[in-house]
């Protein structure tokens, strides 16, 4: 339920909107993107989470960056830690 890998869109097909070619470290596969299509159109260079040949989710660069920021701050000054706690409770 669990093996899902981030892949970058390298090709889209205007006449086949349910498909995209994604690439993971130079390995390419055509995947079905029906589950991640919404008002915002997909674009080449978007990152998707891939599971058994289907895109499950769009990967949010903002959330990823935010997470890295939090992780980088772990182990630093206590003020930073308090700030993190405040952020986490506000997130949902």
């Amino acid at each position: 339920m669990c093996l899902a890998i981030p892949g970058k869109i390298v090709e889209l097909f205007p006449d086949q909107p349910h498909l995209a070619v994604i690439e993971v470290s130079g390995v390419r596969r055509k995947v079905n993107v029906d589950l991640v299509r919404d008002e915002v159109p997909l674009a080449v260079s978007d990152w998707l989470l891939i599971h058994v040949g289907f895109a499950m989710s769009r990967i949010s660069a903002e959330y990823a960056d935010e997470q890295m920021r939090l992780l980088t701050m772990l182990g630093e000054a206590d003020q930073a830690i308090t700030e993190i706690e405040g952020y986490e409770f506000n997130q949902s």
Binding site: C2, N32, L35, S60, T72, L74, S92
Partner: protein
């Protein structure tokens, strides 16, 4: 690999581990359950337990869809392959799972047409390319994988494909978690919540765990930093005496879930009144079957499956390991009668099964089997 490598950064991992050691006050003992088999695999593959202090105990949960599949259902699937017209397609995970008369791989060696696929779409493609054969897809998995099966069925129906069907063994995660929580003698302090199941169902379905049972749950990613960060978040909740659902895996998990996925699930599947889970017994409303509109693509309706219940060998303690009551090496058969080469139960076959993961990855110095302790 982007979105992978940065979450395996050694320096940040050591930092997170240090933070955990700070938060895990020595006078307390923490029992954290990771529900999902993928997390069990990650914990062993990345040796994360090495980084945790002694007073944090990781308990493996039942979220391994191969592990909870009763042997009778494996036999049912294999019986389909005995029809010479049938091409049975299975995920790699299923190939070595033992049925009563052998695993799919062993049946294949004896001549059954059983082929491994990476995606249900590969099975659909096989059906289109082989109009004179019957292609059956052995569907397993929790809510992560079910939408893919559903979309494939939708396509089969749209194409009017007559030689494709699905043998459906999809199960749902919430009933499994509830069964753990209601288990007598269960003492879990908090949950490392499923990551990829949550991309489909979102985080709301877990709220009952915090409100009714008072246990924190953090939906977690699968890289080392994800799991460690989730543990930090759990420890902070436990320290503050609160219990809420938090989303550590926000870069991928939407709080409300994936609407198109939930929609296609509702269109194609309905809940079975009950389903047998290996080790957990019969659980109501815990598994999916195809709706009547899709009856034509339901392998159980198209073919006759024996539907025989096969009880586990008495000595095998799969159920207790699944519920986290026993650690893998505490099962009497572990490492002796039951090994990855000659597995008795599915937990030793599936690479995310607690027993296989432990057997294959855990450094076994100092860990004694039941045999050597004489118990």
């Amino acid at each position: 690999m982007k979105y992978v490598d940065e979450f395996r950064d050694a320096k940040l991992i050591r930092q997170a581990a240090a933070e955990i050691r700070k938060l895990a006050t020595p006078d307390k003992h923490f029992r954290l359950m990771e529900v999902c088999g993928g997390h069990t695999h990650a914990i062993y593959r990345f040796a994360l337990a090495d980084l945790l202090p002694e007073n944090i105990e990781l308990v493996h949960g039942p979220g391994c869809p191969v592990c909870v599949l009763p042997m009778g259902r494996v036999d049912d699937g294999l019986s389909l392959a005995s029809d010479p017209k049938v091409i049975l397609t299975v995920f790699g995970d299923m190939m070595r799972v033992p049925g009563r008369t052998g695993s799919p791989l062993e049946h294949k060696a004896r001549g059954a047409d059983i082929r491994m696929v990476y995606s249900p779409l590969d099975a659909l493609k096989l059906a289109r390319e082989n109009p004179d054969r019957e292609v059956v897809f052995f569907a397993i998995g929790f809510e992560t994988t079910a939408p893919s099966t559903a979309l494939t069925l939708r396509q089969a129906r749209a194409l009017g494909l007559r030689n494709f069907s699905v043998f459906c063994n999809h199960v749902t995660i919430i009933p499994a978690i509830r069964a753990i929580l209601d288990s007598p003698g269960m003492r879990i302090d908090a949950f490392i919540g499923p990551g990829h199941v949550s991309t489909v169902i979102g985080c709301r379905p877990y709220e009952f765990i915090t409100t009714r049972y008072g246990k924190p749950l953090v939906t977690s990613g699968f890289e080392p930093l994800d799991v460690l960060q989730s543990i930090v978040m759990i420890l902070r909740q436990l320290d503050s005496g609160i219990a809420i659902v938090e989303n550590q895996y926000a870069r991928v998990v939407p709080w409300e879930g994936n609407i198109p996925a939930l929609r296609v699930l509702a269109e194609v599947f309905e809940l079975r009144p009950y389903f047998e889970w290996r080790g957990l017994g019969f659980i109501s409303q815990s598994a999916l079957r195809l709706r009547d509109e899709y009856a034509e693509w339901d392998a159980e309706k198209r073919f006759h499956v024996p539907g025989v219940r096969v009880t586990d060998p008495k000595a095998a303690q799969c159920g207790e390991v699944l519920k986290g009551v026993l650690k893998p090496h505490q099962c009497k058969l572990f490492g002796r009668e039951c090994t990855p080469e000659k597995p008795v139960g599915a937990l030793m076959v599936s690479s995310e099964g607690a027993c296989a993961a432990f057997h294959n990855y855990a450094v076994r110095t100092g860990v004694t089997t039941a045999a050597s302790t004489g118990s």
